[in-house]
Subunit: 338 residues, 2 copies
DNA sequence: CTTATTTACGAAACCGTTTTCGTATATAGA
DNA sequence: TCTATATACGAAAACGGTTTCGTAAATAAG
């Protein structure tokens, strides 16, 4: 069996309460007793039982990170940011993957209501207005911070990037580079992140009196390949494409390569993507890059503020801007060297 | 406050023990009492307190996944595989990042000894023979399964890929494509995974009577850039390169681009990498791909076998083969079209 | 009809900690 | 000198389950 406070108390002829207080450096305990306890605890390599203390204190020391998927490099970087903060704060990080499945998100979140985690960071699944599991969290006083994909009908803190502005900037960039028929690869569902990017795209095209064209992709890779192949091989092929998320941008490259559609001559491409290796693609991909690591860190920081100080989470909203990295996939003929 | 067994017992005029047994579907309880309890518990939306039951039962329902980093796409995919199995088994997944720091790995693992997790999956940090924290785990009866990066001096189950064979195959492939001066980009430390790849490389070159050349990179990106730049701009530049891990392969591309070294004409490149988008690089990168998702799943499966059935973990070793994906970065002149 | 066994439930101990409260001794204040 | 106030510690009650054991009633065995 592992060493407990009880054993230390017995060996040292002290009461368990005395040992407990000594270990927590209580002022009720004399310096010499503390020293004795500390020394002996170190000698026995005492590690407190986390469940006993969680049970008593009503806090677990865990936070949950709920993500749609982790293969995406954005969420990998976010986990990195979150875990680094959590570890500094002495918290443990539990990771849950929803795989874009609302059912699964619900069952995962419902389990949080009885104390397994003290707080929740999440990026929600694209769904249609089923948010009871989230309001229940709130009812149970478990702080919740959204990052990236927020649910706007829940009042809590969130960390997002400037999706509208960066989508506007992306579209504007394509327009400046000479594109006239710019398509936006979207996704179905109520995701705010997609909606904002869509709106930024729309606004830019209207401001420049260009026709809008929105193509909806799906969660299925094969379906997306078919959808995009149809888009790129039709007679009214766009001459500019904005991929709203990483998943829909990669197929564009594949299909352009397969059909010998020259990037950026026949078509210019911008992707919302967090890939560091975008510059190594053929040709290097112009991206709108979200500050994933920073967003994860910021979200975790807010959550811990709420956990430590009964800080009120309502109405807080941190915006960390994305960056437009211009690369060869959107070059015009004239600056096509480099 | 949340609803407890005690409350259910009081409301139903039963003893807490009766309610507890009913909820666990004990044969000691009559069908009608069970029905009453289940119905009422469902109505009140009862969720058991995980800490109370963990404390009593001595099991947490958590597993730990300890990784050097998660930004790497290999480990992202592995987490995916692990979480999917864990979720099916009703376990929760805690993620810890060591950032290639032995100190951090040690402090993380030491905390596991008092029950926070029931089992550990890990890919170890490259270090030099400091494994007390791992043997301590074993002494505390916490099952440990290595995946990918194993510690060979600890006797436990592991899931690896066939590093020697695939490195041999990679070198052989370069030789077949005409490379004569093949360098191996290695990493310092005792990592078995690197050692095996190194050995596979060495064996292949010896079998073909070619000179070996091993270049050691570091964990620092800038240093690696400098090391590789020096390698590629020297007069005795290699005409073939094997990158032992993802981290050292990407700089090669960058530097080749910067110095107008033509891939695959001036130099052919193979990278050990899990990147799905290797085919979109310029030029498409020939890779040795580890089955990360499958390895994660296999490791988790073994761990749960140990957790559920007191299964003995010694001496088990699952090898899931890597795949050599030949792409343009190693083509010869003659087949350079495509 | 008596005894053994099963069925269905309750009482209480227990897991390892934290926390409240009580108390003996020592010190300070009047 | 007699009462307040610290000081340092112990006893015991939690926290919310699980599990062992005991027992009354019902059933089966002889």
């Amino acid at each position: 069996m592992s060493v407990t406070i009880k054993k230390i108390a017995k060996d040292l002829n002290l009461a368990v309460s005395t040992v407990s207080k000594a270990l927590r450096d209580s002022h009720e305990i004399s310096a010499e007793t503390k020293a004795r306890v500390f020394e002996y605890a170190a000698k026995l390599d005492y590690i407190p039982n986390p469940y006993a203390s969680s049970l008593k204190k009503g806090r677990s020391g865990n936070i949950a990170v709920v993500l749609p998927e982790v293969a995406d490099s954005f969420f990998s970087a976010a986990i990195n940011g979150i875990e680094s903060i959590a570890h500094d704060k002495g918290y443990h990080t539990m990771v849950y993957l929803t795989h874009e499945d609302v059912q699964r998100e619900q069952s995962i979140v419902r389990e949080f209501r009885n104390g397994r985690v003290d707080g929740v960071l999440m990026s929600i699944v694209a769904n249609d207005e089923k948010y009871e599991h989230l309001t229940e969290l709130y009812a149970n006083k478990i702080p919740l911070v959204f990052f990236d994909r927020v649910c706007e009908s829940i009042e809590t803190a969130s960390v997002v990037t400037n999706d509208f502005d960066s989508a506007y900037a992306a579209a504007k960039h394509l327009i400046d580079q000479g594109s006239k028929r710019i398509a936006f690869l979207s996704m179905p569902g109520e995701l705010a992140i997609i909606k904002h990017r869509h709106q930024g795209y729309t606004q830019a095209l209207r401001d420049h009196a260009l026709p809008e064209r929105v193509v909806f992709c799906t969660d299925n890779e094969d379906e997306n390949n078919a959808i995009i192949e149809q888009l790129l091989t039709a007679s009214d092929r766009p001459d500019g494409i904005i991929g709203s998320i990483e998943k829909v941008t990669m197929p564009v490259y594949k299909i352009c390569h397969a059909h010998r559609i020259a990037i950026p001559y026949d078509i210019k491409i911008i992707g919302f993507s967090h890939l560091q290796i975008a510059s190594l693609l053929y040709p290097p991909l112009t991206t709108v890059t979200q500050p994933a690591f920073e967003m994860g860190k910021a979200a975790a920081t807010i959550l811990f503020k709420a956990l430590e100080k009964k800080y009120n989470l309502k109405n807080e909203r941190i915006v960390i801007p994305s960056v437009l990295n211009v690369r060869a996939s959107t070059h015009t003929m004239s600056i096509e060297n480099k």
